[in-house]
Every structure is written in C-alpha cells, then in structure tokens.
Amino acid sequence: MKHLLGLRELEVSDIESVLSLAVEMKKILKQNVKKTNHLSNKSVVTLFYENSTRTKTSFEIAAKFMGASLSGISVAQSSVQKGETLIDTGKTLDALCTDVIIIRHNVSGAPHFLAKNINASVINGGDGMNEHPTQALLDIFTIIEERGSLKGLNVAIVGDVKHSRVARSNLWGMTKLGAKVTLAAPDTLMPEGIERAGARITTDADAAVRGADVVMGLRLQLERMKSGLIPSISEYNEMYGLSKRRVGLADKDVMILHPGPVNRGAEINGDVADADNSFIERQVTNGVAIRMAALFLLTRGNNPI
C-alpha cells in the first residue's frame, strides 16, 4: 500500500491486512512499555486544515509509540496563511524528506489530489464529506473484536448521513466485509443515490434500529439547523436521536458506536452514550492500534510484512 485514501477503492484483502495487523498493534498498547521501532528513521507529518482533537492526537500517539520522527503542521501558523497552495506545501514536505503525510482537509478529494502530485505516502485523516478511512477501520475493528466477524450483522447508522464522511467510509468497508448496512436520516440529511452504494435507506429511525446488532450515531453539526436542514435540535433528537427507548428496539446484545465528539442530547442521549453496551471509549483506544497498523503498512514499501 502506498496511500490510505478511502475504503471505497480499497480491496477486501487490504482492509483485512490492516485489521489483522491492528490486533498485533493493540497488544503493544497493552504492554507496560508502549514502544516499537517500526517507524524509527521515518518522518511523519500531520497536516490538518480542519480542527481535530481525537484524530490528530491518535495519529500522533500512534507515530510516537512506533518511534517516528513526528512534526505537526497547524494550518493557522503555516505558510498556507500566506497563500501557499496545497501542492506547494506537499512538495515542501517532500523536500523535507517526509515519508508519510496525514492530511485532514475540509474539501473532499484533497488527499487524493495531494497523493497524485507528491512522492510521500498520504493518509486521509478525513476529507470533506467524502471519507474518513481510519475511523471506519477502527469501527470495524471494534465490532470484529467483539463479534468475531461482520458477516451477516445488521448495522444501523443513524443521523446526518449527508455530511458524514464516517458514514460513507463505514458503508464501503462494512458492506465489503459482509454486513448489512441501513442508513436512517430525514431526506434533507440523506445524500441522493446512496442506496446504489449498497445501503438500505429509511427515514424511520425506529425501523432502522429494530433488531440491529450494531447502532452507530453520527455527529450532528449544530449549524445544520441554521441552514434549514432540520427545524430544531429537540425535534431531531426526538425523531433521530439515540435514546434509551429507541436503542431498546435493537438486538439485546446491541453495540452502540459513535465516532465522537458526542453532542449529548442531540444525536445521542447521555444515558445511551454512557451505558455498558456503549463502545465509544473502546473505539478511541482501537483507533491508535488501527493508525499504528496503517503507518506500518505504508512505510513497508512493497516488502511483505
């Protein structure tokens, strides 16, 4: 693997190699000394054009545990503010001997565009509404860790599907691994034609959740209300929020997932987020393992693992 840009174009075998490697990486996280030398003498740069706490920190921790030389470019303080283009920034990082660039960008396709124009490997840390591959991989990893496989599982993804790169990446990844994915949202938050990508779609959140093995909430950005896509947070919470009643319709062993950060009382209620069957914190831990695995694979060149 040269780049990790999205799960849409990834082969099942590539997804499986990241997942199986992450099992090994997670063992390292459990050790007293959380250290490997897999990335020593490798240079990793985070290039974030959008705010992020958990993804950025998770990548940084993953790179540090593996001994990488790590730099972070925060766009607010960089030459980007002086008008430097993305390609020029990328070429500068190439010239600085960078092996892996982790980019988050508000424009869909920006990581693909960067990857096409520079030499370093590129990991997509979230691009616009397009993909967030490491998030979906950690979600999938968390489910498999608990259930052994995705095959035949019913997964309900509820909320702002339209603007969600997490929903898209999960849809690609989960369907490739044999899960049945149902998306639930009001039509204003459902992207046109998504059913052609293999999802079942519904506007009825109860119907989506009923009998589901996994229920995933999606973050609702509060400015969606201002743009008229939903009338109020209170109505949204009632119709699409993950409440105790709604989650009660799911399979009794249901797993509750959420990519975070959580808006309590909007897309998920506090009692659901904090319940025993909520895996939100486990997801964060698993994210480090997945990102270690991704960094490992991208810095191996064509050599077998």
Binding site: A110, P191, R196
Partner: protein, 416 residues
C-alpha cells in the same frame, strides 16, 4: 486575392454536394472559366462546411490575460474551425459600457484571426440591479446581452431587461441558475456527488430559472435565449415552450453530450464546470433535444483558465472548460458518428443557427471550415493554441478533425 477550394463535399443548408468553391476578395463568387486562384485547396474527401460560429466564449481580455487574451483565444477559435465568436462580458473592467465593446473589437481587429462580436452585460457590473445602456451598447457593436456566469436573480429586473431589450432589438442570453438552490454545490447532485462527498447542485437550480424566464418572455411577447442547458428537465421545459410558440431559443455545449459526472470521481478539477456535468440520462436527453430541434445551437462556453486556477482542491478550483479546440471532434464523434444527426444538421447547429440568434447573416462572406471526418485522433491538451489547457477530454479518442479555417476568404488555420 482569389482562393479555389476544389473537389470538396460542400455542406449546404439541406444537402451535401460535390462542388468547387470560388472565392474572390473575401466573398464567394460564381464559378467561372479563367478564374486564376492565388491559392488552391484540394479538398478531395473533405467536407467544406459553413464557417463555424460560436456564440458563447470567454476571451478573458481585458483583465485576465494570464488565462487567455483576444489573440490566443481567437487563435484557438480558428484552430477549432471557428470563423466567428461572441465573447462574454465578464472581463475586468466588465463589458457593460460602449468603451469596452470598442476595445474588444479593436483588439480583435489587431489579432486578425477570426471575427469577434462582443456580448455586453444585461445589468451594470453584472450586479443584477440596474439594466445597462442597451441602445448605446448595440450601437457600439454588442450583438447580444448576457450576465453569463451569474443569473439575474431578481425576477423583476429580468422582466424589465426583457422588455427593454425587446425595444432595443437585442437578444438576451440567460445563464440560468438559482443561486440559493445551487447553494455551495460544485458538481451535479446525484450518486457520483454522494460517493465523492462533493456537494451537489440540483438540476432544479437550472430548471426553475429557465421556467421563470420562459414564462416572463411569454408574458411580454419577448424573445429569450437560454445559455448552456445541461439537464433533461431543461430540454423538456424549452420543448414545451416552443410548442406553445414562445420565442425561446437555447444552446448546449459539447461537454453536456460527451461526458457525464462519472468523471468527477477522479477529483480532477478539469471536470469542474457550471452547469456541472450531469448524468447519462441527461446526456441522452440533450442529444434528443439536438435531434428534434429543441436545442438550436452548439456553443463551447470556452472558459480558459491558468493551471494555477485548476491545480487546487476541487472546491477551490475555477469553473470551466477550454472548449474551442475540441468542439468539432466531440460533436462529430458523439452526434454524427453516433448516429443522432447528419453533418448538414451539425453545420446548422454550429453556424447558421447561432448566427441567426444574434442577428448576423452575411451569406456571401467566404467563411468556411474544411474538415476530415475520417481522421481518428486523440485529444492532446498540451497542443492547444489556447492558453487554457483545462479540459477533461485530454486523452479522449475521437473522430473528425478541422483541416482548414477560412475567414473572409483568407486561410487562417491549416492543420499541419
């Protein structure tokens, strides 16, 4: 100066006939014995078409010469077989006053490639508020008015513009887009936008504005020309309006019948254009509209950009395709070779029809485009004469090539 085009297949308004064409002092003349040409073109096996006329291009001068200027743009025009073009007013300063109209005409005269007919704006500064001095603009040489690139959002301003333009006797060309519905979309709304995570522009953004302007024109008995239609719904609205007798005409561009929004999955900003590339259903409806006469003209909407304006993230890239040098080969490949229309009809769409819409018709002018419809080639944007190499068709295999462009009896382009 005498020119003889011999052995060619002359494309006439209703037939193709094998005949020699005699040109003297910029005009076609009757065949006569003892005609001693200064130059002879042997057009054996080639079609001699009425010179192409593009009523919708952006030449970028004045103000954006780094993207294109009148010399390079008209150079691209003749390389694409065009003997005349109408250039849109979104320059800097804007072509909303007679001085800029005169400047463009003077620069075109100096460039001496093809004929250039300026289009001035409908409203001052294309702000959509006050109408321009339409009488003065027409007198200075503007052949039509358009706020192209921007719609006239205010319905009453549009209504008054249609009424006043009718008084002046100058056509209005409308860029149809409801900016509120289009919101911040960058590609066609649909499956491909969804799986690329790019914001979609609903077809309704185009269609509701066409419906509005058709109804306004109808209510005033005024004429209106709809620019670059791209959707099945737009074709249907105009088809119905024409049936009712509304004085509406419209145009489309080669990219709307040669490409679909599947191309956006590359995230290549050369696929970014407004209106956006649509779906296969729309593409086929556009071809149907061309076949049945709903669509009157093929234009390029030639929108050259510097690579710096395109080599950026998709959302930040400029809209537009450099289209002058691919128009004929795409039209021939997808319309004539594709079996939808014959070359006679294609010639009308690329010459007589658009000229008539902007009120130009000089039958005796010796404007000819000589083409080889058997020559297969692969589009190579690096060979464009235009400064703008921005085209999603780089590498596309096509059939049909412009061999000569003759403007007022002078050979302005010859394919090497």
């Amino acid at each position: 100066m005498r020119l003889l085009i011999k052995n060619g297949l002359a494309v006439k308004p209703d037939a193709v006939v094998k005949e020699d064409i005699y040109i003297e002092n910029g005009k076609t003349v009757k065949a006569r014995k003892g005609f001693l040409p200064d130059e002879t073109i042997d057009a054996e096996g080639l079609y001699v078409m009425n010179g192409f006329f593009d009523m919708h291009v952006h030449l970028r001068e004045p103000g954006f010469e780094y993207k294109e200027d009148i010399e390079s743009g008209t150079g691209a025009a003749v390389a694409g077989g065009f003997c005349g073009v109408c250039c849109m007013p979104n320059t800097k300063p804007m072509c909303d006053n007679p001085a800029v109209v005169s400047y463009i005409k003077e620069r075109a005269r100096q460039a001496d490639n093809c004929k250039v007919y300026p289009i001035a704006s409908i409203t001052k500064g294309q702000r959509g508020e006050e109408i321009t001095e339409m009488f003065k603009l027409k007198r200075a040489g503007a052949v039509a008015l358009s706020d192209d690139g921007l719609p006239v959002s205010n319905g009453n301003v549009m209504r008054l513009a249609l009424e006043y333009a009718k008084t002046v006797g100058i056509p209005l060309i409308c860029h149809e887009e409801d900016k509120d519905i289009a919101a911040d979309g960058v590609v066609n709304e649909g499956y491909n936008a969804t799986i690329a995570g790019l914001r979609g522009i609903s077809r309704a953004a185009e269609e509701v504005m066409i419906a509005r302007d058709v109804i306004l024109a109808e209510s005033l008995g005024a004429g209106v020309h709809i620019a670059h239609i791209s959707t099945a719904g737009s074709v249907e609205i105009i088809r119905n309006a024409k049936r009712r007798g509304v004085k509406v005409t419209c145009e489309t561009c080669p990219h709307y019948f040669s490409a679909t929004d599947e191309l956006i999955l590359s995230f290549d900003a050369n696929t970014k254009v407004n209106p956006p590339l649509r779906t296969e259903k729309d593409r086929l409806a556009i071809i149907e509209g061309i076949k049945d006469g709903t669509i009157d003209a093929i234009v390029t909407d030639h929108a050259p950009h510097h690579i710096d304006d395109k080599l950026v993230e998709y959302n930040y890239a400029a809209n537009g395709i450099s289209g002058l040098e691919t128009a004929f080969c795409l039209a021939y490949t997808y319309l004539v070779d594709g079996g939808a229309i014959d070359i006679v009809k294609l010639n009308a769409l690329m010459s007589a029809n658009p000229k008539a819409i902007v009120g130009l018709s000089d039958e005796s002018a010796a404007d000819f485009t000589i083409v080889d419809v058997k020559q297969r080639h692969v589009i190579d944007t690096s060979k464009f004469v235009s400064k703008g190499k921005n085209s999603p068709f780089n590498g596309r295999a096509v059939v049909g090539k412009v061999k000569y462009t003759i403007v007022d009896g002078a050979v302005k382009f010859k394919d090497a």
